[in-house]
Amino acid sequence: MADLSLRHVNKKYSSNTSAVKDFSIDIEDEEFVVLVGPSGCGKTTLLRMIAGLEDLTDGEIYIDGRRVNQLSAKDRDIAMVFQNYALYPHMTVYDNMGFALKLKNLKKKDINRKIEEAAKILGIEHLMDRRPAALSGGEKQRVALGRAIVREPKIFLMDEPLANLDVQLRGQMRIEITKLHKTLKSTMIYVTHDQIEAMTMGDRIVVMKDGEVQQIDTPENIYNHPANLFVAGFIGSPQMNILEGTVHQQNNIAVVRLIDGTELAIEADMAEILLDKGYNDKNIYAGIRPEHLNAVVKSSPDKKMTYISGEVEVIENTGADVYLHLKKCGIKMIAKISKIAEIELEDQVNIAVNPSDIHFFDEETGEAIIKL
């Protein structure tokens, strides 16, 4: 397999719009990296540049230390799996998988062996004589993966391969691809706009927006330490509650006063950082994930917690979880709780939050104010 380096990669179109801006990353051999971001953020363009299907405006791409900018797609030793599968409709599954090998003049028995191995891994041995038109979405996706596997490429590129599948099948295929990565021990770069896929599949996640990298980190770090407001809002479902407030110092402790007057306690070491960085009496954003908001109806206050109250606007019961949509003086929040308790619509509820679960972001830059 192979490692991959992208150095200051840029892509500008003739209309002077930038699809990718100064993108750099080093991907190690056997790593599974997920590019995630909203539609039009440049992730597919980036994948196509790695594949050699799109020219770079600027920058360099290295595969195994070899600069590949000028190499055509066929010489880069990569294999790409597309969102719409792009199977050859005039060929059987067997021919789809073996076609590139046949053109390489491999021996028939070697081709058969490779196809059989890949088909066994993917569980598609029984489909060999069928044409793509006779396959279901999941089967087509497996064949597309098989077609890539038989080539034994240095790098696998996957462009939203599960986007066209139904929810249940998508969940299944997510596990299949993760297992496939473990089996093949290959370098994989996977594009998606589904943050569940990103969080569950990637060794590292690259969050992109408007062609720029917002954060590159492990799923855990991206979730627990988002680099900015965009990452905080994009990763996590439902998304993080963002509350606007002002930092105030009161008798050696600091609080964030929200626009409705509610005061949220700030953890001591975080308060120190905020004050050291000159945030006293300045506006900042406080971010709290829905699962860190606990609905408390009638219980005595816990000294370790800080509280926000709000009126229940909507209750969404998904079975496993309950989402409470709350509002207070124009502030809207979502709390994710495990059971419904005795909460009803239009109830005033107290929401407890641990100060250590609050993220803080600079109002002007949107960057996270991080504990050192």
């Binding site: 196509r48 594949a51 050699g52 299907l53 055509s72 797609a73 066929k74 030793d77 990569i78 294999a79 790409m80 597309f82 719409n84 792009a86 199977l87 050859y88 409709p89 005039h90 076609f99 590139a100 053109l103 390489k104 044409r131 038109a133 077609r147 890539a148 080539r151 590129l157």
Partner: protein, 229 residues
């Protein structure tokens, strides 16, 4: 209205019909080769090649086939003569060099229309097919040859079938340079029998029989192709 003349002149019609079918097949065969070549040139990234293809296609489609035949027969053949092919001469019953000139003119005309049919067919194939092929290790030309063109041909079969049927009728214009095909046969019989109407009716009925049969065969082939999907 009497058709008794057929006893004596039926052979003219049989020979004319045979030559019409032969002319159509030769013209379509070379028309497809020319069409594929110029379609690929028109889709090429090389501007010079693209302009050559556009010029050929637009000039041929923008001028009448009758004028093209006359230019080729009375103009070009003064400098380039078509060789005599004994086997073909034997088959058609007269000197094959004129026949080849007529076939060439019809093929060149058909090539321009076929080029546009093929170009549209190639462009109807999803861009993803070329990209998938290239990302799986194929060169552009390999992808075109093994992936794009086979799919395109399946898509354009109805249009090529129509071109074949149209060509059967269009070959009638080569009668102006004296080639013995179905229209010319009707003309000869008209002159020999002094009947102005009936010999042409016979020719029309034979044309209809050929084109109707050809249409049905094309339809059958289309259905076969659909089933194979």
């Amino acid at each position: 209205m009497s058709f008794l003349f057929l006893d004596k002149y039926a052979w003219y019609y049989i020979n004319g019909a045979k030559n019409t079918i032969l002319l159509t097949c030769i013209a379509l065969f070379f028309g497809i080769i020319l069409g594929l070549m110029f379609a690929l040139l028109r889709l090429s990234d090389n501007k010079a090649l693209k302009y050559v293809a556009v010029a050929y296609i637009e000039i041929i489609r923008g001028t009448p086939i009758l004028i093209q035949i006359m230019i080729l027969y009375f103009g070009v053949t003064q400098y380039i003569s078509f060789p005599e092919i004994p086997a073909l001469s034997k088959l058609i019953g007269y000197d094959s060099s004129d026949f080849m000139a007529g076939a060439a003119a019809v093929a060149i005309n058909s090539g321009a229309y076929v080029a546009e049919i093929i170009r549209a067919g190639i462009q109807s194939i999803s861009k993803g097919q070329m990209e998938a092929a290239r990302s799986l290790g194929l060169t552009k030309s390999m992808a075109m040859r093994y992936v794009i063109v086979p799919q395109a041909f399946k898509n354009i079969l109805p249009a090529l079938g129509n071109e074949f049927v149209t060509l059967i009728k269009e070959t009638s214009v080569v009668s102006v340079i004296g080639i013995m095909e179905l229209t010319k046969a009707g003309d000869i019989v008209r002159g020999a029998t002094a009947k102005g109407f009936e010999p042409l009716i016979v020719a029309a009925v034979i044309y209809f029989s050929i084109t109707f049969t050809a249409s049905k065969l094309v339809g059958l082939l289309e259905r076969r192709m659909r089933v194979s999907d």
